[in-house]
Symmetry: C2
Subunit: 128 residues, 2 copies
């Protein structure tokens, strides 16, 4: 059953859900300065499967954020590039990626503190 909250499928939240996506962020970041081909992206975005890359690119294309251009070379070449609409979003998305890079240590430290603190609260059933 769907939720009875009408906001649940609010279009804005659906869209936010699509752009607040790690693969979308990484792909857009790669395309930020240059158009790229499929397997080129696959190599540069570490750890993405071909399925997820295809799916992510299809979604970005559908949303009007990237273009897909086929060149009739042999074998065929396909180039992805950011649209004008995409340009209005890419810097914000990339800031998210950059923040992650810069603050991974601070966050890791916070996690260790949190997990350590939980240990002290945890079920203290020793020889209970």
């Amino acid at each position: 059953m769907k939720s009875d909250h009408p906001e649940a499928d609010c279009p804005m939240i659906v869209l936010l859900d699509r752009i607040a996506d790690k693969w979308a962020v990484l792909v857009m970041a790669m395309l930020r300065h240059d158009a790229m081909r499929f397997n080129e992206l696959r190599r540069c975005v570490g750890g993405i499967s071909q399925k997820m890359l295809a799916q992510t690119l299809r979604g970005l294309e559908r949303d009007g954020l990237v273009t897909r251009t086929v060149f009739a070379t042999s074998p065929v070449t396909v180039e992805y590039a950011i649209t004008t609409l995409g340009m209005t979003l890419v810097s914000t998305m990339d800031e998210l990626r950059i923040w992650s890079e810069k603050n991974i240590n601070a966050v890791s430290a916070a996690r260790r503190r949190f997990d350590a603190a939980r240990q002290n609260i945890a079920p203290v059933r020793m020889r209970g």
Copy 2:
């Protein structure tokens, strides 16, 4: 089996995955200017389940982005607020939400164009 790509669980990508999350974005946006209580957040963030809210808040707390403060009133009151670290991220996260609000129409239009274009390509098997 886990992927054999070492980048697959790159800590930066794991972190990006956690902050590029629609509920995290919406919760952080709510806390941007004021601390808020659990059920207050639940009401203001439309369509979030209590489970997802609890889970999102726990994650943000663990990552050092929000604090959780318990007041021994009756019944108990719990207040969530953004940390100093969280403040360095909240504006970027919120830009994502604001972009979604502003560009939902442009994206919807792009989707209609994309879907319409696909119709013309689709299997044209009429009276095959």
